[in-house]
Every structure is written in C-alpha cells, then in structure tokens.
Subunit: 287 residues, 2 copies
C-alpha cells in the first residue's frame, strides 16, 4: 500500500474487491458493482467508450465511496450485461434509466466520463427529476464539433498502441510528454489492481456500435441544455484529442450555474492524471 | 532453461543475445542481427507484416544457427532501418537485394514467412542467381485470391485483441481452440525472451504502406513461377486466415519439384505452433 491508497480508510470495500452483481429489467440482465455506505443519494458512474466495470480508476471511485453509495454498471450489451448496444446515445440513456429505476432509485447523482457524459446529458434532458447532481468529465454536447472524428482517432491510436505494445488509452487519454506518459502508465496499472472476478471485455461489434452512436451524437442537432438546471460540474484537460476541450467550455456556457475545471497539460483522461479531482468532486456532491 | 531450450547447445549466441548491427547501402542504414558460424551459404530471414528483428521465433532461428550463418534484417523503413517502406512487394525485394549484396553475399538461402515470402518470391524471380534454396511459409503468389483481404482481417483482429488484452498475433496466426490458444501464448512469450537492446517497433505509416503493398500483390498479375527452379520448401497450416492455405498448394503446383508440408489444426503461424518444423527445414537446407 502506498501513501495514496492509505488516504482511504478501511471502512469500505475497495472497488477492486467490490462483488459483481446483476439486476434484471426489461429483459436485460445488467451487471453492476456497488460499494460505500447505503442510504442517501447514490452516485451512479457512467463509463466511457469500450469501458466496462473494469475501467473505473480506483483513485476516483474509492474516495467517493467513503461517504457515498456508489454504483458502476455495464449498460445494455456492454461487458457482462446482456442484450445489444443500441445505436443512439438517447437509447443508451433509456437503458441507463431502466437500470437505475430497476434498482429502486428515484434520485441519483451522476459521475460520468466521455461517452458516459453524453448518455448522462441525454438522461437528464429526458428525466430531469431523476437526477440531483451531474458531473460531466471529458465530454461534449450533441452536435459538438469534432466529436464525429472519434472513430478515426480511436482506430489510429489502437494501431499505434498495438505496434508499440502499449494500451490505446495511453495515447487516447494522455499527452505524450514525460508527465503524460508516466500518468498514463500509472492509470493503466491501477486498472489492473483488481485481479479476480474481472468483467467480460466489450465485443468488437458492441464497440463499433458505440463508435457509430458517438459519431451520430456529434452530428445531431444540439439539445436545449437550458433544461439542465441541476448543479453541474464539468471537467476536462486542456488538450483533449477525443472530445475537444472547447466542448467542455461550451457545456459550461450552456448549462446555467455550472462549475468547470480545465486541467493544464493533460488530455481526455485529465481526471485520471489529476485524480486529486476527486476531492473537488466530493465537495461538489456534498455541497 | 527448459528441455526445449537445452536442445541447442551453447556453441552459438542465441538470437535473444545476438547484437544488433547496421550496414549502409544506397543511402539506407539497414539494421540486422547475425548469429551462427560464418562461412558457407548464409540463411537470410524475411519477416512478416509489421514484423521487425524482434519477431523471429527463437525456436526456429536458434536451431538453424547451430550449423548455419543466419541473418535477420529490417527491410527499408521497418524497425531500426532508415528510409521509407516502398509501396510494392517488388520494391521491397529490390531493397532486400541491396541489403544482401551490401553484406557481400552472392549466394544465399532464404527463410521467409508471410509478407517475407512474397518479397522472397519477387527477389528470386528478378535475381535467380542470388538464391540457392528457398523456404516459403505462410505465404502466397502474386494475384493469389484472398490476399487482398489481409488488411480487413488484420484491423479486425487488432481491435479484438486490444479489447480482450491479447496480442493480435494470437488471433491472426493461431486457431482459437485450446491447442491454438496455448501455442499462441507460448509463441508471444518466446518473442519476449530478448529483454535488452530490442528493435524499434514499426510505425503506423510503415505498417499501412506494407498492408497496401500486400493488397496490391494480391491483386496483381500472377508471375511466371516456372522460372523458380530452385529447391523450394513450402509450409503452412491448414487454416490460414491471412494468406489462404490453398495458395500454399498453388505455389507447390507452380514451383516444379517443390516440397510442401501443411500442418493440421493450425493457422498462419503453423511453423511457430509446430516449431519442430525447423528440423525438416534444416534437413532441406543441408540436403
């Protein structure tokens, strides 16, 4: 255990040991993991493109679970959840709604990243009463310029990572300077902390459908974000190659009263590089 | 050291410790490694798509180096060699010719695999006097049906491997049954035996150019292989997804007097799965 890990006391099961559970709803078996004290408003984690339950940084999720009931889930067709990934972000939001209400919640906080943040926006626009507080990281609005290029970037970086024997996320989420490379390695290693009962990987078909849904989101008509009156916290790095940083600023302008932090010298995965972000996120949730 | 490794005595430096050398020719610095006793006809190794000096199976190259001068090289624009990968197999053969003659050889044996086997064919057609014996594994002739699909298969398997945290070669070179999976893991691990002074990886640009050259080779006019009168040994698995097995049989029909072995229950990487192939290859070279 290093100093960083010691920051969380032993009062709660760490994410790497959180048991994998399932709940059935509308013909789908949703896989999820929960941790932290039950009661109060739970924080639901919405994961990124290709991400499964194994893709949450323990340095983000564990500190939040110290005082909050935390739930991460595989949306329909992803990881260990059954069914087929739908071809629009809005349908993914419908599935997320099905999952959340199946667990019996009528009010939740959302912690979202990238594609997860798109789904979270679609969910809150359609079901504003379900959500209390909204955290949108590394994400952008429907119609956001440059989002439709994500497939090309992802395929290129996957190839580059394979040929150099790296994880594609090292290229996609982090700058390739010394600081970024070091942060990338540390992040990828943290995702390996869980060694048993790991999730199923996403399939190529599901991944490709997600990519198409993101592209469609990037090319769709902008939503009226003035309906989002919820306390909203936006974060990104200043050099996001996947969902351009300007789109975080655009979200900030269009969601009244929203708070924003843009980390210097970091990319799409800024919140993982600067995982001290979690303290600010907890303050926001508790405020 | 396991029993398998003990089969090679300690009389020669193993490939994993072979020093990386360079030779300059026609404005290009070619990287190569050599091992085994000098003198006699050297065996030159022609590597596969995306392959560098780090992609030769020690179980193949080390036994041959026991009695033969063995040389593996990075062709122009690949790994540590300078310059740009040309966009045709024929130009790659010209570069191989430049490299071989720069080392002062006027007669060589060739051990080739996949793209390497295409380059070897182009070389022997253009410079029949340079080559004494020819080993063509996992490869096919110009105009060979199905070769042009290699890019799609490669990209698909790269994605699938990345999402499941495998090496793409595990999918591209081996069957996905238990035997194939085990052979794949063992092969990939053998490529890690060299831990120091490893080669530079191929760049995305070089890799893409190789893929285009292979596609062009698959769609080009068949060469007159009756000019290959050299002793030729052809090998493949019975289920090659990259260069269809039927093309090995086609090569065998069209190269008079050629010898062929098709391994059951194996794919493109049959010679690595059945690396006892090396004994037959040595007999062929020594015959």
């Amino acid at each position: 255990m290093n100093a960083d890990q010691n920051q969380h006391s032993d009062t709660t099961t760490p994410y790497r040991h959180a048991p994998q559970r399932t709940v059935n709803a509308a013909g789908i078996t949703y896989a999820y993991r929960e941790l932290g004290p039950k009661g109060g408003v739970p924080v639901i984690f919405f994961v990124h493109l290709a991400g499964t339950l194994d893709n949450w940084d323990p340095r983000i999720i564990d500190p939040i679970a110290q005082q909050h009931h935390v739930i991460a889930f595989d949306n329909r067709g992803v990881g260990a959840s059954t069914g087929t990934v739908p071809n629009t972000v809005e349908s993914m939001a419908d599935d997320a709604y099905t999952f959340i209400t199946a667990l019996g919640f009528d009010t939740v906080d959302i912690f979202s990243f990238s594609l997860g943040g798109m789904i979270a926006q679609a969910l809150v626009v359609k079901h504003p009463d379900l959500v209390r507080k909204l955290i949108l990281t590394g994400t952008g609005p429907a119609g956001g310029q440059g989002i439709d290029k994500v497939a090309g970037t992802t395929y290129y970086d996957t190839l580059r990572a394979t040929l150099t024997r790296h994880d594609p996320k090292e290229f996609l989420f982090f700058n390739r300077d010394e600081i970024g490379k070091r942060a990338a390695r540390a992040f990828v290693e943290r995702l390996e902390e869980r060694t048993e009962d790991r999730d199923a990987p996403i399939t190529v078909k599901a991944f490709r459908t997600q990519l198409k849904a993101i592209k469609r989101w990037g090319r769709s008509t902008p939503a009226d974000l003035s309906v989002i009156t919820h306390p909203t916290f936006i974060a990104n790095g200043d050099n996001d190659r996947m969902v351009p940083t300007a789109l975080s600023e655009d979200l900030h302008r269009r969601i009244a009263g929203s708070k924003i932090v843009i980390y210097p010298n970091s990319g799409h995965g800024a919140i993982f590089q600067h995982h001290e972000f979690v303290s600010t996120a907890i303050e926001f949730i508790d405020d």
